[in-house]
Amino acid sequence: MHPAGSAAGTPRQPSKRRIPVSHLGMADPHQLFDDTSSAQSQGYGAQRGPSGLGYPTASASPQAAFLADPVSNMAMAYGSSLAAQGKELVDKNIDRFIPVTKLKYYFAVDTLYVGKKLGLLFFPYLHQDWEVQYQQDTPVAPRFDVNAPDLYIPAMAFITYVLVAGLALGTQDRFSPDLLGLQASSALAWLTLEVLAILLSLYLVTVNTDLTTIDLVAFLGYKYVGMIGGILMGLLFGKIGYYLVLGWCCMSIFVFMIRTLRLKILAEAAAEGVPVRGARNQLRMYLTMAVAAAQPLLMYWLTFHLVR
């Protein structure tokens, strides 16, 4: 039992000293529990007496006596190694499905960047330079360049949209907590559908872009900001406010998407801004326009039922 115990556990709690039963010459080391039922225990107690002096130095707390028992020590060591293994397994598997290090790039934001980006989403007309800065072949973190896509704003906007939708339904007395779940699932489904549709069309058009899936999700998530603005205005000022703000946000997101996607999809020609020639580039331009035009449509579709 002892060799197995010391082999199985690696991190031991240094504060709780283990007193091996065999050293005190007490009961049979293979006995799993103290047999207090018979006179055996008297002998146990008597033998303990003289070596009772050893106990105070071991530990002052009564729990140490419980943990001095090699079985529970082994169990604890096994349990902690199992937990460590489980955590490793979870980490490995999560890494397989969700590329955590790549995602970290998209969350390297700070308050200034978020403020500037939100301003850009509502008023993109004066911004001149839409190119993402590169640093030795890798794009610079969003913290340092306002043109870089990030996932913080889309994620927060999505969650806020679900909550604001719940709020809107609540003011119309149509709220129940499972409706929140329903709203969240349907918005997520629409987003997934959109991403898949665009990926499919990019594949069909055989365009070579450096537009990764995560980038695409980030860009498609920016429209939720406008949707939230529209719904909030609709709650405060009725249908007129809703249509005004939604109209403005639709225009802004259209311009924003065109200017951003142009650089990603129409890579070579767009940099100079010259009119593109050839069927391939025309196809890319149509694709960009289609993606940008889909945004306002989806913004309207996902919000009109919330504002009465």
Binding site: S61, Y106, V109, V114, Y152, M156, I159, L163, G170, P177
Partner: protein, 172 residues
Amino acid sequence: MFVWGESEGELGINFDHIWQKTLTVLNPLKPADGSIMNETDLAGPILFCVALGATLLLAGKVQFGYIYGMSGIGCLGIYALLNLMSSSGVSYGCVASVLGYCLLPMVILSGSAVFFSLQGMIGTVLALVIIVWCSLSASKIFISALDMEGQQLLVAYPCALLYGLFALLTVF
């Protein structure tokens, strides 16, 4: 023979630390010490959750299921976000502990709901103030413990969303 530990160390609950963390929460404007979150303890948060449930019960709303569900999912979300945003990772226990401690002002809100209804203008303003208070404290502790600069408002926003849900539960 087996005496239940009379000192706090026996039960593993350190009352002095709990009190210190509570004071940090109650004063959101004072900068926090980064080392207070080194030991994760859930005793304080569990106490505050139970207190919240109790005050809600006194006000006539039996919604323990929603409290547990929302806190679990909210903690998970903020755990994921903080792990992605900070350079050093954070454990789930630490996130749950901080969020639980910063729930204390919400207990005050639901306590006051027992005495007067919160559905008017005063209730809304009070709820907003409490939400801001909770999220500022939580983000302050997270920022100092995880050493993130320039991101306090970014961390405060999702915390505000979570506490807003709790406030909704309390007010409606």
